[in-house]
Amino acid sequence: MIEIENLYKSFNGNDVLKGLSLKVKEGETTAVIGRSGCGKSVLLKHIIGLLRPDKGDVWVDGQNVKKLKRNELYKLRLKMGVVFQSSALLDSLSVGENVALGLTENIRISRARVREIVLEKLSLVELEGVEHKRISELSGGMKKRVAVARALAVNPSYILYDEPTTALDPITARTINELMLSLKKKIRITGIVVTHDMESAFYVADRIAMLHDGKIIFDGTPMEVQTTSDPIVQRFVKGGGKY
């Protein structure tokens, strides 16, 4: 389980998170929604330990992320796969090498087994025969899929998506939504989706939490989000459109 308690973070005097608390239950997908620049990606970076909170704690499987030593943090990160907004694939490596990176750098494993896992994960995201391609040869949607395959390579317990449908056309965005949903059903992975795309949030999430002014102001099921009388949530949801 991931538990965030009273998280504070500011950058150059600009308060981004102001006492954020959130629980992500095992096996569920939680969408964190909010306007651009409200601190959603900052929240994700705290969960994987890329940023240290000014105040508050992030607990992952009972471990306080900010108190972990570097090697302990790296062990914890192997339990979490991250799909970055820009996909963040290493363009000096091929598709297969990108997917294999977490394995080859962290686990003693034979080349044959690595290849097997790479092909299995690429097949899971419905990308076959692309392992030798360069990253520059892929479309935006394919890059997102490779990023998902890379995140899944070490069989993580959690997968964190940072704006997975941003900058994609509606059809590709829907394909990525379907992929996230099918992964949830196939491998029962716990997920956090940070997004401002309400279509995506309603489609993949079991729970939706709204981040506003540095805090979670609403946390409920997709149905509760649609029926809430909270004016801020309503305005955001209606502005975001219906699925």
Binding site: I48, R77, L89, G102, E105
Partner: protein
């Protein structure tokens, strides 16, 4: 002097030292990063070889030409080889190789790592439990230390050859006289001092390139600035260390 300026200077020096220390603490993982280091030696060393060879050839030729022209009438023919050998081994070989590689490699290291930083590739490495300093900076640092002395030796040999061509073709000096001249008044510390400079320049080039890459901020503009700063600072430090080592060794 302005307090902010002093703070920023000490902040910069502290930042570079801290970054260097972080790389040093990863050096024990060299065997694990062997393939990455070899890849960097290929890219940094072998990639720089053509330009180093071309520049060194002309550098040797012009050194021989000027030496013959300026003092040709006052010195024996065999001393032309000696003048070329001393100029190249002590000064020109390491310095020009250092400056050429600084221009080519420092900027490319800063731009490559800087682009990775602004496109979240370094965050992605962290999220995959891969230490970016161990994966990106340390192999480039080690390959800088290995590549520069090797490139410098090649540069000096090509320079000797260029000087010989000039001596034989333009000044009718017999090849054997020129070659014998290369050995006149040779002291081993001239070679080792030059190679020490090359080692130091390799250190500076890799350190500045990776440091500015890892501290890149913003987007494309930030990457451009990082590349420029890497070349400028590497070039200045090369000239500083050139003087410092000359002062200590010779």
């Amino acid at each position: 002097m302005n307090k902010g300026f002093i703070e920023s200077v000490f902040g910069y020096i502290g930042g570079v030292c801290l970054f260097l220390w972080t790389i040093i603490t990863k050096l024990y993982q060299v065997p694990r990063s062997f393939k990455l280091i070899v890849n960097q030696i290929v890219s940094m060393g072998i990639g720089s070889l053509p330009i180093v060879v071309v520049v060194s050839l002309f550098m040797g030729m012009v050194t021989a030409y000027q030496a013959a022209l300026q003092v040709g009438g006052y010195m024996p023919e065999s001393y032309l080889g000696m003048a070329v050998a001393k100029a190249l081994m002590i000064e020109l070989g390491p310095l020009l190789t250092g400056l050429i590689v600084a221009g080519r490699v420092s900027s490319s290291l800063a731009a490559e790592i800087g682009t990775m930083k602004v496109t979240e590739q370094i965050d992605a490495l962290e999220s995959l439990a891969v230490d970016p300093i161990r994966y990106l900076a340390m192999p480039r640092f080690v390959s800088g230390l290995i590549s520069l002395p090797i490139l410098t030796v090649i540069s000096e040999l090509v320079g000797f050859f260029g000087g010989g061509l000039c001596a034989v073709l333009l000044f009718d000096i017999r090849p054997i006289v020129y070659i014998e001249g290369l050995r006149v008044n040779y002291f081993p510390h001239e070679l080792w001092g030059g190679l020490l400079k090359a080692l130091c320049f390799g250190f500076v080039i890799a350190l500045m390139g990776t440091y500015y890459g890892f501290t890149t901020k913003g987007g494309a503009e930030g990457v451009g600035k990082a590349a420029t700063k890497a070349v400028v600072s590497a070039s200045i430090l090369i000239l500083f260390f050139d003087f410092l080592i000359a002062w200590i060794v010779f």
